[in-house]
């Protein structure tokens, strides 16, 4: 004895077999598969992708910890290539020499990235010269190396005493002067 359910499912299967073909189904499936990548992404997905950072340059160790408020600390953002004792700990500023010391007219130049907007700025690493070395606390001694090069590229090396060109070659302390945006 056949149940009404059996009859219904049999009828459905027969109709399916009579009115559809496997080839027709496959061709429709193929069109759908081909068309899928061509269709625009949902707005949600597109917005999410646009919010991702555009820059692919990985941050340096210095840049990950840089700050913009205290220029007597080695992680102040403009000091990304500074090597030496900070003039801001010696009575000067981040880009000014203490009284009695003279900025060398010759320096090396690099770039530092501002943590506030990610823009890159040209920095002139000028030493202050003409006084004995500043005796500041250990926390004012920095050895950062962003964009600095080994001695064989001496014009970009920060181990050099950049005091030639000034009246006295005696090193006192280090500054980092912002020159402009690197663009």
């Amino acid at each position: 004895m056949t149940s009404p359910f059996d009859k219904m499912s049999e009828q459905f299967t027969r109709n399916l077999a009579r009115f559809s073909s496997r080839r027709g189904f496959l061709s429709k499936l193929g069109v759908a598969l081909l068309a899928a990548p061509a269709l625009p992404l949902l707005p949600v997905a597109r917005t999410a992708r646009a919010a991702e950072p555009k820059s692919v340059t990985p941050k340096t160790d210095f840049e990950l910890h840089a700050q913009t408020t205290d220029d007597t600390k080695c992680n102040y953002w403009k000091y990304c290539g500074s090597d030496g004792v900070l003039c801001s700990c010696c009575g000067g500023g981040s880009h000014t020499c203490p009284a009695g010391a003279e900025p060398s007219p010759i320096s090396w130049i690099g770039t530092c990235v501002s943590p506030e907007d990610g823009r890159s700025f040209v920095i002139a690493y000028r030493d202050c010269c003409g006084k004995p070395m500043c005796g500041a606390s250990k926390s004012c001694w920095c050895d950062n190396t962003d964009r600095e090069m080994p001695t064989y590229r001496s014009s970009l090396n920060n181990d050099i005493i950049w005091c030639f060109g000034s009246a006295s070659a005696t090193y006192h302390c280090s500054t980092a002067a912002l020159v402009g945006e690197a663009k």
Binding site: I109, A124, C163, F164, G165, A167, A169, A182
Partner: protein, 141 residues
């Protein structure tokens, strides 16, 4: 891509100064000086073939823009009126034969003698290379 000015600062400005002059005895002035060299064909190529120029960490395109900025902007009125800007092709070829086997000092001296005598160049070109004992580097850090 960086501007010619930014490329100048990053590759030359530390020693030559932000605007082309720092210590005239230790580093040749570019400001209101460098254009004189373009009066001589060997001067035009000398500017590109100098080791620190030819070996600079720049592409041919960036170096060409940089050199034109140095010569025509920093050089100011010292550039001869008929001087043409450097082309990428010219710079690309010249930097492949850097001046590594000659006395740069003697080569420069011979050129500036001609420039001062025949092209009314400033005698300030002679400042570079004058030894001043008060500015000798030491290692006192």
């Amino acid at each position: 891509m960086l501007s010619p000015r930014a490329n100048y600062l990053l590759n030359c400005g530390g020693c030559h100064g932000l605007n082309g002059a720092s210590n005239s005895r230790l580093v040749p002035d570019l400001k209101d000086h460098v254009g004189f060299f373009l009066n001589l064909p060997e001067g035009r190529s000398y500017v590109v073939r100098l080791p620190n120029v030819a070996f600079s960490m720049t592409t041919d395109e960036a170096l060409t823009g940089l050199l034109n900025y140095v010569v025509f902007t920093l050089g100011g009125a010292t550039v001869p009126k008929d001087a043409k800007p450097y082309t990428v092709r010219e710079v690309s070829q010249l930097r492949r034969s850097p001046l590594t086997e000659v006395s740069l000092v003697r080569m420069r001296q011979a050129m500036i003698r001609t420039l001062i005598d025949q092209y009314h160049a400033t005698s300030d070109l002679r400042l570079y290379g004058v030894v001043d004992s008060s500015s000798t580097p030491s290692s006192a850090r």
